[in-house]
Amino acid sequence: MVVLGGLYLLALERHSERDRLRAAAVELTPGCKAKLAGYDLAPGQEYRSPYVRRVSDVWITARGYSAEDVRAIERGCNIVDDLQGHFAKDGSERWHAKRFVRGSHTTCEHCHQGIGDKQDAAGKRMEGSNSMAASWVMADMYDRFTGLLLPHELRQMQCYINSSNGFKPNAADDLMRDVTAYSRFLSAALDLKIGNHYLEQGIAEIPASATLKRGDDYVRGAHLYREKCARCHGPQALGTVVSGKAVYPALAGPNAHSMDSRMNFAMVNSVMPGFICRNMPPGEEGSLENQDCRDIAYYIGTLPRAAGDHQGPLVAAWQQLMMTVMPPLTRYAESLVGNRALQDAD
């Protein structure tokens, strides 16, 4: 009885915490402050997007947002930009999102760059940039990876399970609903039409057919990785952390995506190359050839990472062992050849 009573009181406390949070003013991350101010988000009877005005020279009037809706959108933006809560006073500001993520690096923004709405300097939405707005208008469509008509919420769950190597929140959780609210707001701000396919949706994948078909080569990928990626993601792709914040996320090890993620080359061999070619290295996007991106993705896919739900306990144990043993072994091996690059060692 005491235990049950305790659980009941805990549930009451959690409910009141949610109510408090829903009513509380939202402290935006610097990125969200700029993003939402750029789209003129404010409570009101009507909403008119300055982006649409700039692009099409007309004002389109849509239904406005209440103060409660605005707060939900702001919280959603914060979650996408800063899932780990590095800018938050405490975890409750992000609905304790960290409990759904195993590592300490991942945030939605790593894959959905530009806080889910990546644009170039001229304000043009970028092709294959994983736009969350375009994803919302094309939600509920058939997904070839899962074989489901995939709603926006289920897609988010997959991000938590696979890309964040974590656990799935409930579909009706505020955490999910706020991200949906933010995605929906972005689609309003960009005036995207329901059910239309936009080029910024998903990742512009790079299959083998988009190369000269000489075959993917992870040794060449390793060389390219050292040349192009290691300066940010680290020599073993374990990421760069400054003052507890992942400045560049891990691409391998326990803080990276799992083996079940579509970003894992061994799972889907066209998504990660597409992401690399479109987004990497930052500031030099588009500088890599298709084959380069496939080789780098292949190499990253060979690095030890956590197993997903599909692999089973033996593979999970093996991967755990590899994640523990390989980094010091690799460091030791590299210390033997000094600072020379791999091709010199050969």
Binding site: D140, M141, P151, R177, S187, N196
Partner: protein, 189 residues
């Protein structure tokens, strides 16, 4: 006392043709049984769970052509869901009977008794908004749940139920045809 001689080895009997064919016959029988069940399930059972296609209710062809539903994708999954949504919307008492007490004999026994398909589309793009009366943000799915429990005098499906999903997809298909964006208001402006 007589001694019985027990032969140490029995004469080997050559198995008959039927005995030799028995394992093969068993396999063929099992195969025929499975094939028969699959054919019956798909073509003869009339159980919705066994059918890949949704039953075409009156008006579907006209609706699908008017709202361009069939233009979605090559695989037909979305179209089938939209068609089931259509059935639930116009024949609620028949296709969502688990969630309503209303019968075919009663008036106002379908979603279409109160709403038009376009209402659903506008409702969809204006969902996930704060409802002052209820004091909370309401998703499209929660509105459908409330309709079934209240107006349809029935029960609340779960969020994952195909009834909810297919009504949402039905609304999506219509919203696509009308080329609505988020927050679009009926009559424009």
């Amino acid at each position: 006392m007589t001694e019985t001689t027990i032969p140490t080895t029995e004469p080997r009997l050559e198995p008959g043709v039927w005995v030799r064919l028995l394992p093969v016959a068993k396999s063929l029988g099992a195969l025929a049984l499975i094939t028969g069940f699959v054919l019956w399930a798909h073509f003869g059972s009339h159980f919705p769970a066994f059918r890949a296609h949704v039953a075409a209710e009156p008006g579907w062809e006209r609706f699908a052509s008017a709202y361009g539903v069939t233009e979605f994708g090559q695989d037909g999954h979305f179209v089938r869901a939209a068609q089931n949504g259509y059935n639930v919307f116009f024949y609620t008492h028949k296709y969502a009977w688990r969630f309503t007490r209303r019968t075919a004999a009663q008036a106002a026994n379908t979603c279409a008794s109160c709403h038009t398909a376009e209402d659903m589309a506008y409702g969809f793009v204006n969902s996930d908004r704060f409802d002052e009366k209820l004091g909370k943000r309401m998703s499209f799915e929660e509105h459908v749940m409330r309709c079934l429990a209240g107006h349809m005098d029935g029960f609340v499906p779960t969020l994952y139920d195909p009834t909810i999903r297919d009504l949402r997809i039905f609304a999506r298909a219509v919203a696509h045809h009308l080329q609505l964006s988020e927050g679009a208001r009926k009559g424009g402006g």
